[in-house]
């Protein structure tokens, strides 16, 4: 997308969001819910893609997903903050603040060490959440229905409004992520993935870039967690469990690191496969998921985003 100006990018993105929100009014409820989950979960995977572009993968983004979700639910239940947009932002801020002290430490590690350390952090949080009774222990707790800009959401429309809110917030963050990927800092981050030594000898700091990416991924994931819990109305420690983190990694690998749009497409595909597999093969849906991933890795090793980037004849360039 480096060939498009930020203005045109935003205009196109906003138009797409408006069209999707309008289309949601015609969709059945199960589909709007599925897309809502895909968009909110896709944000967490987008955070992983931010890290992937710098050359590392987090196996523990369930950490920020849970932090954002718990932060939103607790603000709602304990402090009476009910606005959906405010809760989404709060989820991101709390997650980002939590990742802040760990970022310089994690930025020292690469490859499997980075991945396992992030996984360890998420599992520590899982253990804590499961043991703390005031947070509902292993059962978690419910939260009520959020409001939007001071308006109460009627029963019949709450699903659609949350769909619109989630899509709007996710779309906006996707556009911001695209701007970041196309920025000077974004390009240097991509160069780190290729050759960290060179970036250092040009005068750039790989560790600083990695730390910043981790905090950004934390913020995005936290927003995703908050949006998810608002639609579900319930949160439990499984938000931070390693299998949840694994699903986010699955989506990031399926999408590849080149395209923001591909992340949400991949997330939607996962939700579709999950829903239909659960329906038709309730006990073996993970098998279908595994086979699906094998096919993707075999035939589209660079992710879904490479499908339309390859068509431009510029394999390593960016797309929307």
């Amino acid at each position: 997308m480096g060939r498009h100006s930020p203005g045109r990018l935003f205009a196109g993105g906003v138009l797409l969001i408006v069209l999707l929100v309008a289309a949601g009014a015609l969709m059945p409820k199960w589909l709007t819910f599925l897309i809502t989950m895909a968009a909110s979960h896709g944000l967490v995977s987008l955070g992983i893609v931010v890290l992937m572009r710098g050359g590392v993968v987090s196996f523990g983004q369930g950490l920020v997903f849970a932090l954002g979700g718990y932060a939103a639910a607790l603000l709602f239940n304990k402090l009476g903050v009910t606005d959906a947009l405010l809760l989404a932002a709060a989820g991101g801020v709390v997650s980002a603040l939590f990742t802040l002290p760990f970022a310089p430490l994690l930025a020292r590690y690469r490859g499997i060490f980075f991945a396992m350390l992030t996984l360890a952090l998420s599992m520590v949080l899982y253990g804590l959440l499961a043991k703390v009774d005031v947070l509902g222990g292993s059962d978690g707790f419910n939260m009520g229905r959020p409001t939007l800009l001071g308006m109460r959401l009627p029963d019949a429309r709450v699903g659609y409004v949350m769909y619109a809110v989630t899509l709007s917030v996710a779309g906006l963050m996707a556009l911001v992520a695209r701007v970041y990927f196309d920025s000077t800092r974004g390009l240097v981050s991509l160069a780190m993935r290729e050759n960290e030594l060179r970036v250092e000898y040009l005068g750039g700091s790989a560790r600083q870039a990695q730390a910043i990416n981790y905090v950004i991924a934390g913020f995005i994931g936290g927003v995703g967690g908050a949006l998810t819990v608002m639609s579900l109305g319930h949160i439990d420690p499984n938000f931070s469990y390693w299998t949840t983190s694994g699903e986010f990694v699955f989506v990031a690998i399926l999408a590849g690191h080149q395209s923001v749009f591909a992340v949400f497409l991949a997330s939607t595909l996962l939700e579709v496969v999950r829903s239909f597999s659960s329906l038709y093969f309730p006990n073996t849906w993970q098998l279908a998921l595994g086979l699906f991933l094998l096919i993707v890795i075999r035939f589209v090793p660079r992710g879904l985003g490479s499908l339309w980037i390859a068509r431009t004849g510029k394999p390593a360039r960016e797309a929307t």
Binding site: S183, T184, R198, L202
Partner: protein, 250 residues
Amino acid sequence: MSAAPLLRATGIEKRFGAVVAASELNLDIAAGEKVSLIGSNGAGKTTFVNMITGYLKPDAGSITLAGRDITRLSPRAITHLGVARSFQIPQLCAELTVLDNMLVANAVDAGALSFWRPARRPQAVARARELLQRFDLADHTGRRVAELPGGVRKLLDIAMALTGSPQLLLLDEPTSGVAAEEKYPLMDRVMRALGEEKMTVLFVEHDMDIVTRYASRVIAFYSGRVIADGAPAATLDEPEVRRYVTGTLR
């Protein structure tokens, strides 16, 4: 030699266990000099370059750049003071295009990395293209680095180092791995591009024809010591250099 050298190494010592990589190195490099470092493998040339760039720290002694002590500074800090380097094996981003590699160098050189300023904004692209033009790399602008031949990669590696207009440029074996008939054209392009900058250059080289043709001064290393230092013809004619470096004296 001018009174205030650009680079001064004083009493540099460096050991790796029993191996002496640098012993009592005392060198002054004046601004604008084109200096070639020669010596057999293990003589201490690359160790010296690595100490200048901050990758290695000397056990004793000091290195100053334009009067400022850089001995204990990090490679990044030294880069920001105006020291750049290329590598024996070009260090590039293989999956990015030639232009994007230059834009990475541009972006880092600009100092203030931004979250929103486009990396491919017209001014940055124009600056990158201008430098690529100087190295005759304009035809390769849109190609992925992974697709490029070795000589072109060498040139790109040097062009990236030059992006920040450094005071001192270190070239680690710029012609190694390049076909014999390509060496002179490659060095001609490099020196032509550097000539416009009037830059101080230290280059490590094994090909004595290249050394004779492009260096204004030659420093010969053997076992971590400087065994000869001076004009190319005179230095290469020194008995110790002929015995230990060029192998023309038995």
